[in-house]
């Protein structure tokens, strides 16, 4: 199917760009570790394990924002997005390709963040890893769409966190719930539901964000 070929082309392009410029992923890696260290000092002595897990999720949200701010940077600088939008390929393919790339970037950051967290704070369970994986899909799906909106605005980087944070509150709930709750399955199910709903919505509405 040519649609999937387009998605593949676009995702490959984004990954190749990151490999060349190497500006987003290293920043995310450093940011998440720095944030965790800051949180060590932010947590009072005798703070519970639950609090630590909560802060992990805060760190992940802000790292996602950092990464997403750069999501359309290359397209915006050169107005290349116009070139992509003009192509006969479906505009939603742009969203899907970009989202896949963002998931990869997030996964790389998390591959560093989770071991660091286990080292500094609390053990990391399989449920937590699953929750982080599902959450990354949610962050990427919604974040890519919002990043495209922010790229079209004057406020740029300032706008993305404002749009992003309210929408990802459910992800934080799901993630923290899966980390500390008695019934992580319920929260993982909720995360999957969130991903499904918002991925479909983002996929379908991306066209309207990049065209007039």
């Amino acid at each position: 199917m040519s649609y999937l070929a387009d998605v593949g082309t676009l995702a490959a392009k984004d990954l190749r760009l990151e490999l060349r410029s190497r500006d987003t992923v290293p920043a995310m890696l450093l940011f998440v570790v720095s944030t965790l260290v800051v949180f060590n000092f932010a947590l009072p002595v005798g703070a519970s394990a639950e609090a630590a897990y909560g802060l992990l999720w805060a760190a992940l949200v802000f790292t996602a924002i950092l990464g997403l701010t750069r999501a359309f940077a290359a397209e915006r600088e050169q107005r290349v997005l116009d070139g992509l939008v003009l192509a006969p390929s479906d505009r939603s393919a742009i969203w899907l390709g970009k989202t896949i790339a963002v998931v990869v970037f997030l996964a790389l950051a998390e591959a560093v963040a989770l071991p660091a967290f286990a080292l500094f704070f609390e053990p990391v369970s399989w449920e937590l890893v699953a929750a982080v994986a599902l959450a990354s899909v949610g962050f990427a799906a919604v974040g890519t769409l919002l990043a495209a909106m922010a790229a079209a605005s004057r406020a740029r980087e300032l706008l993305l966190p404002l749009l992003f944070l309210p929408l990802v509150i459910p992800i934080v709930v799901g993630g923290v719930g899966a980390s500390i709750g008695d019934d992580p399955g319920r929260y993982l199910g909720f995360l999957a539901l969130y991903d499904l709903i918002f991925a479909i919505l983002s996929w379908a509405s991306f066209e309207y964000v990049v065209t007039e």
């Binding site: 290359a74 050169q78 070139g83």
Partner: protein
């Protein structure tokens, strides 16, 4: 191919195009002239489908895959090479015999030697040539060229002259330019924007 009635476009409070009527038939070459800010680029962007009219109607009967648009910016990724950029567009536009076509265009426009270098290292003129390659890659039926001569040196301009002479009469072209001297002979019509 293109029909506009009472076409207008505003950006916020500022209206750039007002009450424009236009008819472009197949294989016409329309020269769009006018000073800075008169709306040449806006008209081309509207025809390309990047902008929607805020007033009036615009009907472009060509589909997206058959339109070639040359903007002020080259619309290429700085971090990718010339080859990679054209390959990307070639895939998205489903250009048949992609590699051969890309190779041919790069050679014709004198970019073959630097095909593997990052576009960020290119001069303005080279970027413009690459942008031309991008525009012509899929052999579009409708060409929208916004200041195609900008940044080109003598050699580049000569190449473009040749290309336009070859295209005129076989494709439909809208050419926006400050300096119409070169292409006047080819034009079948002229639109002067105030």
């Amino acid at each position: 191919m293109i029909a506009a009635r009472g076409l207008g476009r505003s950006f916020g409070a500022k209206s750039v195009l007002r009450d424009l009527d236009l008819d472009v038939a197949e294989r016409d070459l329309l020269l769009v002239t006018g000073p800075n800010g008169s709306g040449k680029s806006t008209l081309l962007a509207l025809c390309a489908g990047l902008l929607a009219p805020t007033r009036g109607e615009l009907d472009v009967t060509v589909e997206r895959s058959r339109i070639g648009y040359l903007a002020h910016e080259p619309l290429v990724y700085r971090e990718l090479s010339a080859l990679e950029n054209l390959d990307l567009y070639g895939r998205l536009y489903r250009v048949p015999e992609r590699r051969e076509r890309i190779g041919m265009l790069l050679e014709r426009y004198g970019l073959w030697e630097v095909r593997r270098e990052r576009v960020g290292t290119f001069s303005r003129g080279m970027q413009q040539r690459l942008a031309l390659c991008r525009t012509l890659l899929h052999e579009p039926d409708l060409l929208l060229l916004d200041e195609p001569y900008a940044g080109l040196d003598e050699e580049g301009a000569a190449l473009l002259d040749g290309e336009l002479a070859a295209l005129a009469g076989t494709r439909t072209l809208l050419l926006a330019t400050h300096t119409p001297a070169g292409v006047e002979l080819l034009a079948t019509g002229r639109l002067a924007l105030a």
